[in-house]
Amino acid sequence: MKPTDTANPDYYHKVVDCQWGCPAHTDVPAYIRMIAQGRFSDAYMENRKSNVFPGILGRVCDRPCEPACRRGRVEEKPVAICRLKRVAADHRDDITDRLPQAPARSNGKKVALIGAGCASLTVANDLRPLGYEVTIFEALDTTGGLMRTNIPQFRLPPAVLDEEIAYILDMGVDLKLNHPIDSLEDLLGEGYDAVFVGTGAPRGKNLEIPGRYDSDRIHIGIDWLESVAFEHTKTIGRRVLIIGVGNTAMDCCRTSLRLGADDVKVMARKPRGFFKASDWELEDAEEENVEILVNHSPKEFVYEDGKLVGMNFELMEYNIDEQGRIDRGTVTGEKFMPADDVVLAIGQDNAFPWIERDIGIEFNEWECPVVDETTMMCTRDGVFFGGDSAFGPRNIIWAVEHGHQAAISMHKYCHGENIEDRLPMGMNLASQKMGMHEWSFSNDYNPASRRLMPHVDLKKRFKKLDIEVELGFTAEQTIEEVERCLNCDVQTVFAANLCIECDACLDICPVNCLTITDNGDEQDLRTRLKAPAENLDQALYVSAELPQTGRVMVKDEDLCVHCSLCAERCPTGAWDMQKSELLVPYAADESPQDQPKVAGA
């Protein structure tokens, strides 16, 4: 293999699995260390820089960082990254004076953002400090989009939403509530310099089976959740069937329990392992005694005397092949399940009835606009998309990242720059050495297992709809959990020219990730290392030729616990522990010529 190009910011970025896995590239290890030092406000601001809504995301993020977390490979469970984010949000001081400010003078550019959800709010957050006049159009009479309408209050208290949304609106955003946009063409005629569409994927999928339209006790999941959020729906029958097993289904079943149901079943067409819901959301639902029935495919609604009494399901059997793929299944029988209400939670679609099809915006076969994945611009110049409205349902953190990228594009677009000519990511490395064997981070491995989130007692939590179930980590739990972080951003940086091949680093490495050997191609090298390097997703670092023997130092990044012992045992300083800081460009860093550079944003 050729010597690894560590000058490419991607190499060390990829070592920080959580940051690499996060669409918004939140510097997770950095903020966890701040929490460890009791710097909650700093940790909050570090989060806010990339993910804008730490309090919200600390509760309801889809957490792509956690399955990626190296701790989950070294032992069983990843660091509770999401819950630590909430710790930062819960314990921060008043940070309002550290928030970005709008300049006194407008830059003369006007942008319209459609929908007051997380994507549009992120665009506003990035553009308002640059002097843009930002107008948000929202169809409902409140902000937050699906964060408010689809996420139940027992998971995300409205106060948390209000506070973090206010941080953005208070910069002087013109918010127009109860203002649905019925025609994009008309809006485009109003003289905005750029338009951003962040309207989500608002249409719940339907289930076209016999009896679907013969009762008003059959609900579409996201519409029903919205109706509950706005208190239009206050009760539900005793027996409820939830169709589908995604995260919306989990919110529906748990909400049902709080509206008076006591027999709630989630009906899954496929077996476990093929559920769309996140493991932790499944766990939380099952803790509340929701029963999840697998291999039940909905067949028809059943009525007696014109009243919905339940549903018939086909019982399914599936074959799963060696690659873990599931076939279409065969029907082995039929089963009746009684129900007073049925909630359909089988997915969402985009819907743009308000976008004219003859204004230069191309739509694909799924009726989604054709949007560039980097610039977020559609086929009509000056119109940008983000969040679920861009590529279909994803999650909040993706919407935030879309917002950041769209803001960069809008900023450049409004100043006549090429929106494809974007700043690259950068990387800083700084040694963490403090003394002979002292490092500026907690390098010792803490074998503690993942802390469990304390919950409100089962008996108490159903009394009201808005009792937040998760209590947040205690101080003791926080202290343990932060130490579980492996500080993957403190990189093992190797200088081949200094190495005397004494083997000290190889011998001390607790997880055998280092080998000095003759060079070869990657496939071959992976078989010749001190411990099997079977995780092909994780890179091999290969040094330049070592001075004394011409062999190379190879590091399998997979299981390195960043304990610094290689650097401590190195007599020549060939190994050093250096903190990598990913430099992520935002709109404020792109500085068109007529725009004064905004520092610190």
């Binding site: 002292e438 491995y445 083997d503 000290a504 607790p510 012992l565 045992r569």
Partner: protein
Amino acid sequence: MSYIAKPKITHPGLNKNELGLTTRDYEGAVSTLCAGCGHDSVTAAIIQAVFELNVEPHMLAKMSGIGCSSKTPAYFASQSHGFNSVHGRMPSVTTGANAANRDLTYIGVSGDGDSLSIGVGQFVHAIRRNLNMCYIIENNGVYGLTKGQFSASADIGSLPKKGLPNQQEPIDPVSTALSLGATYIARSFSGDKEQLVPLIKGALLHSGFSLVDVISPCVTFNDHEGSTKSYAHTREFYNHVINVDYIHPSEEIKAAYAEGEAMPIHLRGGDTIVLRKLSREYDPTSRASSFKYLRDRFNAGEITTGLLYVNEEREEMHELMGNVDTPLAHLPYEELSPGKEELHKLQSRYR
């Protein structure tokens, strides 16, 4: 030394030996030697060797004297027996231990000071007795613990960090052992575990005195330019003449070994090692030719390494003395000490 202990966490794919143990189970305390010390690599090689030989930790005894080298038994096999003896007296203590319990595997770790200066008399007599032990000399040419004075193995002309070059003849443990009739003599380098680990395994299996002289650079006092025991110097003048492979009893000796330069050696304990000649002119079974070759190469400035001499004919100490197979430590007291009457009978035979 490091302030933190080596984390207990391990690679989940780590190999297990026949006892279900991993190399991590044969580790000891974290080394307090200088970072980059060759001795730590020797420690790692010992760990690898006892792991691969499936040595039961309670059947291993680690013996040492005084010096940097003699600290190292603390850094491996923490569940095994250990004796850190008086300076240079490790061979005698091992003789006593071995006399009492011949069933244990004895691994003595010593240095050039401990074995070739203060303990040279002990060293040579242990060889004469053909004491069944693996005797490792971590040889760095200096007294590291007292700040780097030349030891008895320093080569003529070798430069110290400060001061004048050494002018006294070095004691070479390999040719010394060869002249005294040691039955397994090897030299290796701490920076070459591929060679060192099989040599230690062979030494542990060999019945009788096995010497493994390991060039083990002192990074602090003897790794500079002009030193003849530095990492760079050793690599430059390295002359690897005999490779050795241990053959597990369950493996057949491969055809490739039966031909050409390969030579299977059946050890008295029933194990087999295979020697592979890397130098045609070298014969590891002849004391005379070995001695000549070693001196010639030494005079040419080369460091000859590998399994340099092996002799499976000679009996080890217990066999020479005709002792019972059962370790004396396990014999009942009545058998060990037959009593006054028996003593009188014995004495009367000589009157």
